[in-house]
């Protein structure tokens, strides 16, 4: 990483420079004022930068040098499944027949794209054990909302209008309760027990006739498999509720267990986690949703079907919740996910989860002597340490994370789930080698020693990054959200 001052693109701007090239207008020019009312013609130009092509290239190259991705180094960010993003996926997604097709072309001119989508949705249905899958949702949270809207439509179709509650565990991701709110539900929290699993007694207590659904991640956000899943399903189903599976952690169970077989009625997957869609610095993702047969009528429109050898978008779905997104989802991410599934096949995907779980358990056992481990059973694809031992020495989890930056790592997820004090959530993924894990473990052990011997070294970290710790309080108190030219 380079540490010198980095200009904003606007600060490089000089009147008269250009970075583009389009042909001269080749049609007879007419006076725009004769066709557009003058009030609607822009008079003050948008103050976009004026820079040359090389300046642009240098600028974004410099910015990329101030950023850390999976290709830069280990990225054990729990819950995010930061696995390798295959290069072939990027090539395939850029094939003109995928990248340069319009969503409203006649269906007979895009049969290849539709076949790809159909084969992907069929594969995902098999992988999750569901009956049908829609590829429309743009990300995990969007999938959650879509799924909850379907559950609502299902209850209402049964004349059941009083199911106002969605239950989420205290360890749930923030999008779960937020999606429940957007879908018009009230969210109710169910507690975890001392083993980090949903407390069955508490679940029985909160489940009643008002419950529309229970949302669950399994393995949960502590990386632990909810062993009592069948009993939980029974409790919820007997009360007339539905079971929603947040698939953010599906990387643990590919070919080992399927949400459809656990009693889940609706599932979303994060193709940008489990199925190698690159995170892109925050997106785009893709959050397909799978459902059991009784929810199929409520799938968002349009539904992609195959008739004889022709693929078709079906719009005549009277019970559908409607559209959740223009067009057909984040197709480009779906192309990448399908390319990945075709690379791995059934045996490869099984091995993915096996190796992901083995990597996580190996790290967990090696770190266990040095950090508190609140839940000691085998984990799945990730595990959560607590930094409370180090906190007593004045070194917080945030400090540990910042110290890891000095060693060229992206830190684990911190302070999530909220149910663990000073949480450090580590997810190595299956694409990392044992050497990489060992090096990281050594650095973690070194930091735990530093916490005892030279705490200020950790407290003042990072020492090697392009900027030091940033003043977030002032950023929020006096927000500067865009560049303003100094005059």
């Amino acid at each position: 990483m380079r540490t010198e001052h980095q200009s904003l693109i606007f600060e490089l701007s000089k009147p008269g420079r250009v970075g583009y090239s389009i042909p001269e207008l080749d049609v007879p020019e007419i006076n725009v004022e004769s066709i557009i009312p003058s009030d609607y013609l822009r008079t003050e130009e948008a103050d976009l930068p004026e820079v040359s092509e090389l300046q642009i290239v240098r600028h974004y190259t410099a910015l990329s040098n101030r950023n850390h991705g999976v290709d830069s180094g280990f990225y054990p960010l729990g819950s995010c499944t930061m696995k390798y993003n295959p290069k072939i996926n990027e090539d395939v997604a850029r094939f003109p027949g995928f990248a340069h097709i319009h969503p409203l072309q006649d269906e007979d001119t895009v049969q290849g794209a539709m076949e790809m989508m159909y084969r992907l949705q069929t594969s995902l249905a098999e992988i999750t054990g569901m009956d049908e899958v829609t590829l429309q949702p743009a990300a995990g949270a969007h999938g959650e909302w879509t799924g909850l809207m379907m559950i609502r439509a299902y209850h209402e179709a049964n004349g059941d209008f009083n199911r106002t509650k969605v239950i989420v565990p205290d360890s749930a991701h923030g999008t779960n309760p937020a999606s429940a709110t957007v879908a018009g539900f009230e969210s109710i929290t169910v507690k975890s027990d001392e083993r980090g699993l949903v407390d069955l007694e508490d679940l029985k207590r909160v489940v009643d006739q008002d419950v529309a659904a229970l949302m669950l991640t399994n393995p949960n956000t502590l990386g632990l498999f909810e062993e009592h899943i069948l009993e939980m399903a029974k409790i919820v189903h007997e009360a007339g509720g539905k079971l929603y599976y947040d698939g953010a952690n599906a990387n643990a169970i590919l070919g080992f267990a399927r949400p459809g077989d656990m009693g889940f009625d609706v599932v979303h997957l994060n193709l940008h986690k489990t199925f190698t869609g690159p995170h892109g610095g925050g997106g785009p993702g893709s959050g397909p949703v799978g459902v059991k047969a009784d929810l199929i009528p409520f799938l968002p429109k349009p539904v992609l079907v195959k008739e004889d050898d022709l693929y078709k978008f079906e719009y005549d779905r009277p019970q559908s919740i409607g559209r959740v997104k223009p067009f057909y989802g984040n197709f480009g991410i779906n192309v990448r996910a399908f390319t990945y599934i075709m690379t791995m096949g059934p045996d490869g995907l099984h091995q993915v989860s096996e190796n992901a779980v083995l990597n996580a358990n190996y790290m967990m056992r090696r770190l266990e002597p040095h950090f508190d481990l609140p839940f000691t059973q085998h984990c799945k694809h990730e595990f959560v340490l607590s930094g409370r031992r180090q906190k007593k020495l004045g070194v917080r989890t945030l400090d540990i994370a910042k110290r890891l930056l000095d060693f060229g790592y992206h830190p684990p997820t911190i302070y999530f789930p909220l149910s663990v004090e000073e949480a450090i959530m580590i997810e190595p993924t299956e694409t990392e080698s044992k050497e990489t894990l060992d090096e990281f473990i050594e650095k973690m052990i070194q930091i735990s020693k530093e916490a005892e011997e030279t705490p200020e070294l950790v407290q003042e970290a990072p020492h090697t990054t392009v900027v030091k710790r940033l003043d977030e309080a002032t950023a929020a108190r006096k927000p500067i959200l865009k560049y303003t030219k100094q005059v």
Binding site: L8, V18, Y20, S21, V27, V32, R42, L48, P49, V51, I56, Y60, L63, N67, S72, M82, V92, P96, F98, A99, H100, H102, P103, T109, M116, R119, S123, A139, H173, T175, P177, T181, A183, S187, F256, P278, G281, G282, G283, P284, S286, R323, V324, P326, F327, F331, M342, M344, G345, G348, L349, L358, Y362, H378, F416, T431, T465, V467, K482, Y483
Partner: protein
Amino acid sequence: MTFRYLPMTDQDKKEMLETIGIETTEDLFQDIPEEVRFKGRLQIEEALSEPQLVKEMGRLAALNKNTKDHASFLGAGVYDHYTPSIVNHMLLRSEFYTAYTPYQPEISQGELQAIFEFQTMICELTGMDVANSSMYDGGTALAEAGLLSAAQTRRKKIVVSKSVHPESRAVLHTYAKGQHLEVVEVDTDNGMTSVDSLRAEVDEETACVIVQYPNFFGQIEPLKEIEEIVHNVKGMFVVSSNPLALGALTPPGKFGADIVVGDAQPFGIAQGFGGPHCGYFAVTTKLMRKVPGRLVGQTVDEDGKRGFVLTLQAREQHIRRDKATSNICSNQALNALAASIAMTALGKQGVKEVAHQNIQKAHYAKKVLEEKGFKIAFTGPFFNEFVIELKCTAKEVNRKLLESGIIGGYDLGLSYSELKNHMLLAVTEMRTKEEIDQLANVLEGLACVQNISH
């Protein structure tokens, strides 16, 4: 079989199992109850080697008619525009595309600064004070603008013009249902929001009025009149805008818009069968703390050096959970980067020039079609799209056009029952005079449209 993405060797596995103190990896899965253990082999397609994979995906791609090999006049919300070559080169810097959300600002300054620049450029184009770091797409951004308006005004009625993109309206209906909001659609007159109908619908219960500028038919809505109607009842004025058009048109901010949304797809983002694209969301300062999604702010580090962070996070799901302003988490960051690079390359001069070329070319196309006797359905001012009337179905016409290497326009009969046999044509800067003339000639020659009276 070995897999190139999986580095674990038998020796590694043995050592790791020893460290854990177990015999086989199966032991790690004992917590999955027997009854739910998947014992079969997933019935999905067998793995392909890299060359086989390229061949198969190439076969699928080749089945699609693409807009590189065909002259496209299809728009309707997704456009074929000039993308500077550098956009893709910069996007492939893998420090950008293989990164997660910039939660650790010290090693994410590149992404954070790029988003800060994106926010600035969106504000410049729309004439608004604050823009967020992106939404999934223009449709969900529009729906969230409806939800924000309802929350802000504590009113339950959303008024939307029928000249707003039909798919965005459909998404709005779905979101509104979740929140128990009422959506009222206002009729059009001559392909524009009927100001009289709008006036009749808007009342003290109205949370917002949503219009599109230029609208779905390409026409330039009378934002000035509409603004008065909605602000008279203290509702929110929401405008959905093609940001490229704002290179030539007066920005909605100047007309008093409270929220401006849209899709940045015209800037360097591939049509890609409809996604991923890049929704944007811009507001006045007053609504800054109500915006959905991520915002990047400028600050300083411990040494006083300028830096950027995610900010005002108290609005977001990971802090506020069920009280968050939206459930959005992952957004479209990489496409916001693409749009930033394209906006930068076009720059102050290019955005204006490209927007004006769109106006000129579309008006030229309208003129030659008119000269050939085609009826132009609406007479309002327009940007780069307009509607022609046909004597037969758009589907038939498009099939014929395709034989001449042309991807024709959008069949408006699909979403407007009163507009059967009407076609929405988009003419961007990418279309040459020759292609436009060819479109007109082929259309003229078609048996099914020939009998239109001259």
